[in-house]
């Protein structure tokens, strides 16, 4: 049996079975949580036997060939596979507690398998097609709310932008295909970089191609929106790292890192600023997703130094915080309160645990002390300082706006108004999940070493960037 069969084909097969059972929400929910956890645990425990002569009784073959193309997963990739399935387990648990549409569970398993497929396909230029396929599958899930509102413009914009990324990435991949073994001419390198830049700008919602994000968030269930955008962005970033890692000519191209630094900076400042003007939780979540994207781009831009480690730790902490805030926002709206900032006044009385994870998640995303986001952002800012002090100033400006947004939400939810709304409405599992997520985010802030160890393992496949 091969590794791609276990972590790509089997999950897709099981998602078909879950689709047959979709009428029974609790069964589909429990099965999908169990399956995603099993895939997560198996990725850490089952060895991948890279050499035929290896002295292991059981181990998976690293490659699988489908239609003449190879899907390859080596043992260094196992932490990355584990990350995808760990996150699906957490997202599915969060969704199960909120009794979300069973279609989401099915989609989460299938799309994560496609993300692993996109990561493992060789030559990896095909990855953009598989990521595009995730956006096709995402449309019915996202439309479950937006079509009820009769507002599908965000959804259609999202897909248009994702579709536009495919031609550029495929053409860039074709350009660079010979670059793995042979030098590429300077002219070709510039052309390929422009195509790559456009492709990633469309896929990863770089400024100014980010406009669909708040529109889509405003017409979607927060958990659906955050999971889908996060998954696509995450695999997109891994694809970007793979491009830089595999092509030495691109890696050593002088323009790449300063360009990424400027893009990341603009993303951080603009998303931080716009989050301050957002008047509902869904838009705030969208801008925080973009803020985290900006920070990830900034981390990649410091690659010759600490970039890969910074990238992986910001990715880890950002994921946890986004699960927390999206889940909390959805939980609040489920019990009759809307997403508007006026509707969250005094909410702590009714939803104390949900409010706590929401606030902790928001604070972690801009790097507040005592949260998981603190250490990586300090590290990022000190790394940026080695290039120019102005990068530090503008990054801090964006983060300051994001911090003000969090403060505004904090003051609203802890406002003493509405004294009649006393008594918690939260169930025991909701309280436990809130405490669990909050503790993880705080403990990762106090003891960053444990997260750093995992983050180091996560970037092992990008060996050329670690030298």
């Amino acid at each position: 049996m091969s590794a791609p069969f276990v972590w790509v084909i089997l999950p897709i097969f099981f998602s078909f079975i879950l689709y047959i059972l979709r009428k029974n929400q609790p069964v589909v929910g429990i099965l999908s949580i169990g399956l995603s956890f099993l895939l997560f645990a198996s990725s850490l425990t089952i060895p991948i036997q890279e050499n035929v002569g290896e002295n292991s009784r059981f181990g998976l073959n690293p490659s699988l060939t489908i239609l003449g193309r190879e899907f390859l997963l080596i043992s260094a990739d196992k932490y990355l596979i584990a990350l995808f399935y760990l996150l699906v387990t957490l997202w599915n648990t969060a969704s199960f507690l909120l009794e979300i549409d069973p279609l989401f569970f099915i989609f989460s398993i299938a799309s994560s398998a496609l993300a692993v497929a996109a990561y493992s396909v060789t030559p990896f230029i095909y990855a953009s097609l598989l990521i595009g396929f995730i956006s096709i599958l995402a449309m019915p899930v996202l439309s479950s709310y937006s079509s009820k509102q009769g507002n599908v413009s965000g959804l259609f914009r999202f897909f248009s932008y994702q579709l536009l990324s495919i031609p550029f990435l495929l053409l860039a991949g074709w350009f660079l295909a010979g670059g793995e073994i042979a030098p590429v001419a300077e002219q070709e390198l510039i052309q390929a970089s422009v195509l790559l830049g456009l492709g990633f700008a469309f896929m990863l919602a770089f400024f100014p191609f980010h406009i669909w994000t708040p529109i889509l968030a405003d017409a979607s269930i927060p958990i659906h929106f955050s999971f889908i955008t996060r998954l696509i962005f995450q695999i997109g970033f891994f694809l970007l790292l793979k491009f830089i890692n595999n092509f030495s000519w691109l890696r050593e191209f002088q323009v790449i890192y300063p360009a990424l630094r400027v893009i990341g900076l603009v993303m951080v400042v603009i998303s931080g600023m716009w989050s301050f003007f957002a008047m509902n939780l869904r838009k705030i979540i969208a801008y925080y997703v973009l803020l985290n994207n900006g920070l990830l781009i900034l981390a990649i831009s410091t690659i010759p130094e600490k970039g890969p480690l910074l990238f992986s730790i910001i990715l880890l902490t950002g994921n946890l915080s986004l699960i927390g805030i999206s889940w909390a926002a959805q939980n609040i709206s489920k019990y009759g309160r809307g997403f508007s900032l006026d509707q969250i006044i005094g909410l702590y009385k009714k939803f104390p645990f949900t409010v706590i994870i929401f606030i902790i998640g928001l604070f972690s995303l801009w790097g507040s002390p005592l949260t998981a986001g603190f250490w990586p952002l300090q590290f990022l800012i000190s790394s940026l300082n080695t290039y120019s002090a102005s990068f530090v100033v503008f990054t801090l400006l964006g983060l300051l706006f994001a911090a003000m947004t969090s403060m505004r939400v904090l003051f609203r939810v802890f406002s003493p108004e509405r004294p009649n709304e006393m008594g918690s409405k939260e169930s025991l599992p909701v309280k436990i999940f809130s405490i669990f997520l909050s503790l993880i985010i705080i403990l990762m802030g106090i003891f960053p070493k444990f997260a750093t160890i995992y983050a180091m393992e996560l970037i092992q496949p990008f060996g050329m960037l670690l030298k």
Partner: protein, 174 residues
């Protein structure tokens, strides 16, 4: 001037046939026919799922029509004039570049012009077709053909599903 859903479907089917004839010049017939079959399947899916529901013929102002025609003409002239400049970038026959870019950019124009979901759906399919005309001479693999074929059918299926769910909700509202 009226927009007819059925005539649009027919034009889309013809466009798929023409793409097939273009791709046939560089790909073996077995692989190229995947494009035609998947494309026509996408047309069929749209026809079956939406023909009952899309019965309105959107009327357009004469000025809007002339603006769109002028824009399309301007783009076409631009592409025709500057396509040879792209030959050093993409070393394929000039016909592929001109036709592929025409379809690609006209569908981007359509994405900007049209706001209705069904017209955006047509624009997505044609955009993908335009890209395939350019990319086919560069690479012809079975996996690429299979994924792109799934893309066409997937877009048609999912797009129709979204349009149907949105529309049925609009109908159920008083």
């Amino acid at each position: 001037m009226e927009f007819s859903f059925k005539s649009n479907l027919m034009l889309l089917a013809i466009l798929y046939l023409m793409t097939f004839l273009m791709v046939l010049q560089v790909w073996p017939i077995a692989l190229a026919s995947v494009k035609l079959i998947s494309g026509w399947m996408a047309v069929l899916v749209l026809g079956i799922m939406l023909s009952e529901k899309i019965n309105t013929n959107g009327k357009l102002l004469g000025t809007a029509i002339s603006f769109r025609i002028i824009s399309a003409l301007l783009f076409s002239i631009f592409i025709y004039l500057f396509a040879p400049e792209l030959l050093f970038l993409i070393p394929i026959d000039i016909e592929f570049i001109i036709l592929g870019l025409q379809i690609f950019f006209l569908s981007i124009l359509a994405l900007g012009f049209f706001t209705s979901p069904i017209q955006q759906l047509f624009a997505w399919l044609t955009l993908l077709m335009g890209f395939e005309v350019i990319y086919s001479p560069l690479e012809g693999s079975a996996l690429l053909a299979a994924i792109l074929a799934l893309f066409h059918i997937g877009i048609a299926l999912v797009g129709s599903y979204v349009i149907l769910t949105t529309q049925s909700l609009e109908e159920s509202q008083p």
